[in-house]
């Protein structure tokens, strides 16, 4: 069962959020993400959810965190400069270990940059934008249908791992208006946060010894029953602040390990025509659509080239890229920025491969022809 529609990426994020069970949206509009709040301002009341526009990005991310604390699946959406502001809140959600989906529709930067034009220049901001040691999950869909399915996956991962998840789209994907066949919601697994079953007086939100590495978290039905404390300060199992060195370090490590120990469940990537390839392209998001066309054209000219496409872009697929670096002497990294994932590929390939680039920060998509020319150049 599927539903054929013509929709843009922003509308699909909004619809997928509702399908995933999101019932609280807070945001401050910013191009090119504004169709997300526009659409949700209409849809949220229809499904009994809450839509709130706040005075700015900081207030809206904090409100979304508050809703998550109160048991709601919640989301906020923004673009580059807005993501800079939301980093404070993303750190808070990391520390409080609250599920949250933050959509970043990437545009040109720094600062206000190019409001209406495309980039992938928030790749590193997604990973390291908030301060302190932390791990983040970030997902970069490549097509309209993936924008829908990966938004649902973002909510699932947020709930399952009690963590903020970033969804990185971009100005092209956001406004790309195209045919999409939306599968019926019954085709998707929708994950809800694990519920506490202990008596309320015995529940603590970070009681790892009792509950395991990811303790249960009350949903909106249970929230009034389980009263608990949370803070942005380093905390002990009760959710109250601590400066106990041992407890602090154990907690910091656990927050990273809850993601890294489950990397097999979180990672997602695509290998495209790599089996017999001599040259490898690594690309993600909308830029991977240009790479795919370039690869098909190169193949039709007899050049054996393939692509590795991270879909979960953070944590970086380090093991996969290391394995690929042992097989490929030449790797082309392409992204719509001046080189960000490039650093990760260099790090993970440990000098095994010669690395070439097709990079661009001109506010327009990289064209298949540009990638094709680089493929032809390095294949000589």
């Amino acid at each position: 069962m599927s539903n054929v529609e013509i929709a843009n990426g922003n509308e699909l994020v909004a619809e997928a959020a509702i399908a995933a069970g999101c019932r609280f949206y807070a945001g401050y509009p910013i191009t090119p993400s504004s169709e997300i709040p526009e659409h949700l301002s209409k849809r949220m009341p229809e499904v009994g959810g809450v839509f709130m526009q706040f005075e700015d990005e900081i207030a809206s991310v904090i409100a979304a965190i508050g809703a998550s604390y109160a048991g709601y699946k919640s989301m906020t959406a923004t673009s580059g400069p807005g993501l800079s502001l939301k980093q404070e809140g993303i750190g808070l959600a990391c520390m409080m270990e609250l599920p949250l989906v933050v959509v970043d529709v990437m545009r040109g930067g720094p600062s206000t940059g190019l409001p209406t034009r495309v980039s992938q220049a928030d790749y590193m901001q997604a990973r390291w934008g908030t301060h302190g040691d932390h791990m983040i999950i970030a997902i970069a869909p490549s097509t309209l249908i993936e924008t829908y399915t990966e938004t649902i996956r973002a909510f699932n991962l947020a709930e399952k791992y009690r963590t903020p998840v970033l969804l990185l789209t971009d100005a092209v994907l956001a406004h790309l208006h195209g045919r999409v066949e939306i599968p019926d919601i019954s085709n998707f697994e929708i994950i809800e946060r694990t519920q506490p079953t202990v008596p309320p007086e015995e529940y603590y939100p970070y009681d790892v010894e009792r509950f395991g590495i990811i303790p249960p978290l009350p949903n909106k039905e249970n929230w009034r029953k389980y009263k608990f404390h949370m803070t942005g300060l380093n905390k002990d199992k009760t959710g109250f602040p601590t400066v106990d060195s041992k407890k602090v370090e154990e907690d910091e490590e656990r927050m990273i390990n809850k993601i890294m120990n489950n990397i097999k469940d979180i990672e997602s990537f695509e290998y495209y025509r790599v089996d017999d390839a001599d040259v490898l392209v690594i690309a993600y998001g909308t830029n991977a659509t240009a790479a795919r066309v370039a690869i098909d054209e190169a193949r039709s000219k007899g050049i054996k080239v393939g692509m590795f496409r991270p879909i979960t872009v953070w944590p970086f697929p380090e093991a996969q890229v290391f394995d690929l670096s042992k097989k490929f002497k030449k790797i082309i990294v392409s992204e719509i920025n001046l080189g960000q994932m490039l650093y990760e590929v260099q790090r993970a390939s440990k000098g095994n491969s010669e690395i070439f680039t097709v990079l661009q920060a001109a506010g327009v998509p990289i064209r298949p022809q540009q990638i094709l020319e680089k493929i032809e150049e390095v294949s000589k």
Partner: protein, 188 residues
């Protein structure tokens, strides 16, 4: 090899180029069960800035949605014509507002060029300048022949306010007739 047709609509913000592209794409998807994409490009200026809508219509899923080998261009403004004509295929159909866009001689050699005072016709003959984009849609449909004319009517009806439907239908039909006349003048 099935259909793969690339169209580009350019002009200045407020002329309705985006909507023209959307109507063409929606007609293809909803009423002809084809694949279609529409990619808008605009600036921070709400009105008056350069705008571009790339539309691809295909029998197969579309991989890369920016138009790179363009079959048809509609231009309602000189600056955007000059900016965005570079991706046109040899022999592409070019439709411009002859009152607003001057076509250099060398472009006439490369492309199949049609000029008509589209905006003026919308304003004085149809009676409302805002119908210029729908008039252009009518011309586009006739010149390209890629969509059924009745299907495009349905897509227009989905998008324009009911109170302005009759006026827009008049603009659409007029566009088709004008394009037929222009084709006949060229012996097509």
């Amino acid at each position: 090899m099935g259909l793969h047709y690339e169209l580009r609509f350019v002009g200045i913000g407020g002329q309705g180029n985006m909507l023209a592209g959307t109507i063409i794409a929606e007609a293809a998807v909803y009423y002809e069960n084809k694949y279609a994409t529409q990619v808008p490009t605009y600036t921070s200026q709400v009105r008056g800035g350069p705008t571009k809508a790339d539309v691809i219509i295909s029998d197969e899923p579309i991989q890369f949605a920016e138009a790179t080998h363009i079959d048809f261009l509609l231009a309602l403004d000189q600056r955007t014509y000059d900016m965005y004509k570079k991706d046109l295929k040899e022999g592409a159909i070019v439709l411009v507002d002859s009152g607003l866009v001057n076509i250099p001689e060398e472009d006439h050699k490369k492309w199949d060029v049609y000029g008509y005072p589209i905006v003026k016709t919308a304003k004085y003959d149809i009676g409302n300048v805002v119908t210029a984009n729908i008039l252009a849609v009518g011309m586009t449909v006739e010149l390209t022949g890629i969509l059924d004319k009745e299907n495009v009517k349905k897509a227009i009806a989905d998008r324009v306010p009911p109170a302005f439907l009759d006026l827009n239908m008049k603009a659409y039909e007029t566009g088709i007739e004008i394009a037929k006349k222009l084709k006949a003048e060229k012996g097509k």
